[in-house]
Amino acid sequence: MRSARDPGLLAAGAVLLTFAPVLPGPSRLVVLPALLLAPGYALLRLLGQAADRRSIAIAVPASLVLVILASLVLDVTGVPLGPRSLGLMLGVATAVFLAGSYASRVVAALPGRRRETSRRPEAARPGADVGERT
C-alpha cells in the first residue's frame, strides 16, 4: 500500500485512467486500483492531508466522491458518460491535483513561509500508540 501513495505511482495512475479505454481485454483490470486510489490520494496531497497508510480509508471514499463528481459534471454539461470521457476527466483531475500539491509545496518552501508549514498535518493527527502497526 506504500506504493499507492507514491507520487510517481499516482502519476502512473493518472496515465492509466486516461488511457484505460485503449488497454486490451482483461489487462484493463489494472485500472481498478488506480481508479480507487489515485484520485483520492492525489486530492489528499493537494489538501495537505496525511497521505499515509492510515489514510487509505479516506483515500478510497475520496476517489469514489471524485468519480461521482466527474460523472455529474460530464452529465450536466451534456457529455455522454463512457470510458473515454470519464477516464480522461479522472486522469486529468488526478494529474492536476498532483501538480497542485507540488506547487503548494514549492510555495510553502519559499523563504518566510517555512515556519508556518513546519507544523505538518501528521503532527495534528490523533497519535498512534507506540507499537501500533496498522
Binding site: 485512467l17 484505460a20 479505454p21 481485454g25 482483461p26 484493463r28 483490470l29 485500472v31 481498478l32 481508479l35 480507487l36 486530492l43 489528499l44 489538501l47 495537505g48 492531508q49 492510515r54 480509508a57 479516506i58 478510497v60 471514499p61 475520496a62 469514489l64 466522491v65 471524485l66 468519480v67 461521482i68 463528481l69 466527474a70 460523472s71 455529474l72 452529465d75 455522454p80 458518460l81 463512457g82 470510458p83 470519464l86 477516464g87 479522472l90 508556518e116 507544523r119 498535518p121 503532527a123 495534528a124 493527527r125 490523533p126 498512534a128 500508540d129 501500533e132 502497526r133 496498522t134
Partner: protein, 599 residues
C-alpha cells in the same frame, strides 16, 4: 459456510443453521483474537469486512435477487446503456435523484471492463471492508486507545445491518462509508483542536475535504446524509474540547472546525432536496409520520388508522431456531444494560478527558428505535438507522472498561473479561442478524410465495428469458411486485408499480374491470403487456404485499380467470403459473362501455 449454503435449498433451517453459525463465530473470534492481540489490526478488520461479504455473495452470485438490489441494478443498467445519469426505474422512483452509487459502479465497468454485476459487487466489496476500519479510526479520534478501538470495529461488524443489508448493491451501502468518513475526518479535526496542532490554512483544507465528501454523500443517499447531519450535530454539541455552551468561548477557529461541517452537510442536503430531488420529502415523510401515529395510537394518544393496526408480530412464520430468537431478544437487553452501567458511572465520575456522551446518546437512539420496528410502516426506516446508531454501541465496551478501570485490574480478571466479551460478541452477532434480516434474505430455499428472493423458480427464469427474447429488454410490463422484481432482474423489463396515478392493483382485486383512467395512464406510459402469476389467487402471505400496503388479503380466483375472457387481452405466453397478455387499448375502449358493470 459453503457447506451450509449448499444444504439450504433442500434442507430445513435447523439442519444447516448451526453449521452456518459455527463458521461465522469461528471467523469472528479468530479475527477478534488476531486483531486485538497482534499487529496489523486494521488489516484484520478489513479482512473481516471482506469475509462478511460471503453470506450475501452466496445468495446473489450471478445477479441481483433482493428488491432494493434489483432496483439499483436496473438503474445501473440504464446508466450504462443510456450514457447518462438520473435514470429511472419504477421499482425505486426516488433512486433517480441519487445517482452517486450507480455512477461509481458504471465507472468501474467502463474503465476496467468488468461486467455490470461484477462492477457492482467490486464496489460493494471495497466499501464494505472499509466500514469496520473507519469505525476503528472514529474511535481512535475520540480518543480511544488502540486495543479498544479495535474492539469498537469488531462490535460494529455485528450490527444488525452489517452482514446482509449493507452488502447489498443499494445506495445506503456506499453512502454509509462516505458518512462514516465525514465523521472520522470531523472527529480528527476536533482532536487536532485538542492538541492545538493546526493552522487556519490546514483547517480550511480539511473543511474542503469534508465538503467534497458531504456532497458525495448527499448525491448518493438521502437518509444516510440525514443521519450524518444528526451525528455531526450531536458531535458539535457534546464533543470536547468544549468551552461554554456550543463552544462559544473556544475561539474562532475551533468554532469553525466544530460547526462548519454540520452546516456544510446540512446545506448540501437541503439544497439537493430543494433543487434536484423535491420528491424526497414525500418519499421519506411516511417513514416518520406513520410509525409516530402508530406508536401514539398504541399509548392511546391517537386513533388507529386501520382496523388491524399496523403492528407486526416478531418472528411469525420465520422458522428460526430457538437459540436465534433468544439471542435476538438478548442482544438489545445486553446493549441496554451496558448503557445503563456505563451511563450511571459516567454521571457519577464525569472523567474530564473522555468523550463518551456522544456514543451514549447514539446508543440511546438505537434502543429507542427498537419499538418502532413493531410498526409495519416504521420497521424499514428504523432498520436503516441502525448502521449509523451502532457506531455508539460499538464504543460501549471502551466506555465500560475505562469508566470502571477494568484495564488496570489483575491479568486473571482481564482474561475472564475477554472471555465474557467474546461470548457477548457472539450473542450480539447471532441476535442482530436474526433480528435484522428475515430468513428468506439469509438463505436460499424452496419456493415461497411473497418473497422476492425465494419466489424465483426455473419457471420464472424461463418466463424472463421468453420476455427478453420475444418482447425485448426495456419492455413495459404490468405485474405484481414479486414477478416485477424477477422480470426487472432477469429480463431487463420496466415494471411500473402501484402509485397514485396508477392503481394497477384494481386489475387483480376489483370486482369490476379496470377503469378507463387507469387504462389511459397505462397507454400513455406504453405499458403494453400484462403478466399474471396464477398463484396470486392461491396463496396468502399476510407479511407481504403484492402491490400496496393494506391491500385485500387475497386475490379472488375469478379475477384471474376472467382475464382469459377479456377480448382486449391477447394471450402470448402460458406456463403452469404464468400468463403473458398483450393489451389492445383500442379494443378495450370499445369493449368497456358495455361491460362497465362487470358482466
Amino acid at each position: 459456510m459453503i457447506w451450509a449454503y449448499s444444504l439450504a435449498p433442500t434442507e430445513q433451517i435447523r439442519s444447516y443453521d448451526p453449521i452456518f453459525w459455527a463458521g461465522m463465530v469461528l471467523a469472528y473470534l479468530a479475527v477478534a483474537w488476531r486483531a486485538v492481540s497482534g499487529p496489523h489490526a486494521v488489516r484484520w478488520l478489513g479482512l473481516l469486512g471482506l469475509f462478511t461479504l460471503l453470506p450475501k455473495f452466496w445468495m446473489s452470485r450471478s445477479g441481483p435477487i433482493y428488491f432494493d438490489e434489483t432496483a439499483h441494478f436496473a438503474l445501473l443498467r440504464n446508466v450504462i446503456s443510456g450514457h447518462k445519469l438520473f435514470q429511472h426505474t419504477p421499482l425505486l422512483p426516488i433512486g433517480t435523484y441519487y445517482p452517486g452509487m450507480e455512477s461509481a459502479a458504471a465507472a468501474i465497468h467502463w474503465l476496467t471492463g468488468l461486467s455490470p454485476w461484477d462492477s457492482a459487487l467490486t464496489l460493494i466489496a471495497v466499501v464494505h471492508c472499509l466500514l469496520p476500519v473507519q469505525v476503528y479510526y472514529i474511535a481512535r479520534a475520540l480518543p480511544v486507545p488502540h486495543r479498544w478501538a479495535v474492539v469498537a470495529g469488531l462490535v460494529y461488524a455485528v450490527n444488525p445491518s452489517f452482514i446482509y443489508e449493507d452488502v447489498q448493491f443499494a445506495y445506503e451501502s456506499v453512502a454509509l462509508l462516505l458518512m462514516l468518513t465525514i465523521v472520522r475526518v470531523y472527529l480528527e479535526a476536533l482532536a487536532a483542536e485538542r492538541s492545538d496542532g493546526r493552522t487556519w490554512g490546514q483547517t480550511l483544507l480539511t473543511s474542503l475535504l469534508i465538503a467534497a465528501l458531504s456532497f458525495g454523500s448527499v448525491v448518493t443517499h438521502h437518509l444516510t446524509s440525514l443521519t450524518g447531519v444528526a451525528l455531526l450535530l450531536l458531535g458539535a454539541l457534546v464533543l470536547k474540547p468544549m468551552t461554554g455552551f456550543a463552544d462559544r468561548k473556544g475561539g474562532r477557529r475551533r468554532l469553525f472546525v466544530r460547526w462548519t461541517p454540520v452546516l456544510t452537510l446540512a446545506t448540501f442536503l437541503v439544497s439537493w432536496i430543494a433543487f434536484v430531488a423535491p420528491a424526497t420529502v414525500s418519499y421519506l415523510s411516511p417513514f416518520v409520520t406513520q410509525p409516530a401515529h402508530e406508536l401514539l395510537s398504541l399509548v392511546g394518544l391517537a386513533k388507529r388508522a386501520t382496523a388491524g393496526g399496523g403492528l407486526r408480530t416478531l418472528f411469525s412464520n420465520s422458522g428460526t431456531p430457538g437459540y436465534e430468537r433468544f439471542a435476538a431478544f438478548a442482544a438489545p437487553v445486553l446493549v441496554a444494560v451496558a448503557l445503563l452501567f456505563a451511563g450511571i458511572r459516567w454521571l457519577w465520575k464525569r472523567p474530564p478527558k473522555t468523550n463518551f456522551l456522544w456514543p451514549f446518546v447514539l446508543t440511546a437512539v438505537y434502543l429507542a428505535s427498537l419499538p418502532v420496528t413493531l410498526t409495519a410502516e416504521g420497521a424499514a426506516g428504523a432498520h436503516r438507522t441502525w448502521a449509523t446508531t451502532y457506531v455508539g454501541v460499538s464504543l460501549l465496551p471502551a466506555a465500560l472498561v475505562f469508566l470502571f478501570g477494568l484495564h488496570k485490574r489483575s491479568p486473571w480478571l482481564k482474561r475472564t473479561g475477554a472471555a465474557i466479551g467474546a461470548a457477548l460478541l457472539v450473542v450480539l452477532l447471532v441476535g442482530n442478524v436474526t433480528a435484522g434480516t428475515p430468513v428468506d434474505y439469509r438463505f436460499p430455499g424452496p419456493y415461497r410465495f411473497g418473497s422476492d428472493t425465494l419466489s424465483v423458480t426455473p419457471e420464472t427464469l424461463r418466463l424472463a428469458q421468453w420476455v427478453n427474447t420475444h418482447l425485448g429488454s426495456g419492455v413495459h410490463v404490468i405485474t405484481d411486485q414479486y414477478t416485477a422484481v424477477a422480470l426487472t432482474a432477469h429480463a431487463g423489463a420496466v415494471t411500473p408499480q402501484q402509485g397514485p396515478g396508477l392503481p394497477i392493483a384494481e386489475i387483480w382485486y376489483d370486482r369490476l374491470p379496470p377503469f378507463p383512467p387507469l387504462m389511459m395512464a397505462m397507454e400513455r406510459q406504453g405499458d403494453d403487456y400484462l403478466v399474471v402469476d396464477t398463484r396470486d389467487a392461491q396463496y396468502v402471505d399476510p407479511q407481504s404485499d403484492l402491490f400496496i400496503a393494506n391491500e385485500p388479503p387475497v386475490v379472488p380466483p375469478q379475477n384471474i380467470a376472467r382475464m382469459a375472457n377479456w377480448p382486449w387481452l391477447q394471450l402470448l405466453y402460458s406456463s403452469q403459473h404464468y400468463r403473458v397478455y398483450k393489451i389492445d387499448f383500442g379494443l378495450y375502449y370499445a369493449w368497456y362501455p358495455s361491460h362497465a358493470e362487470g358482466q
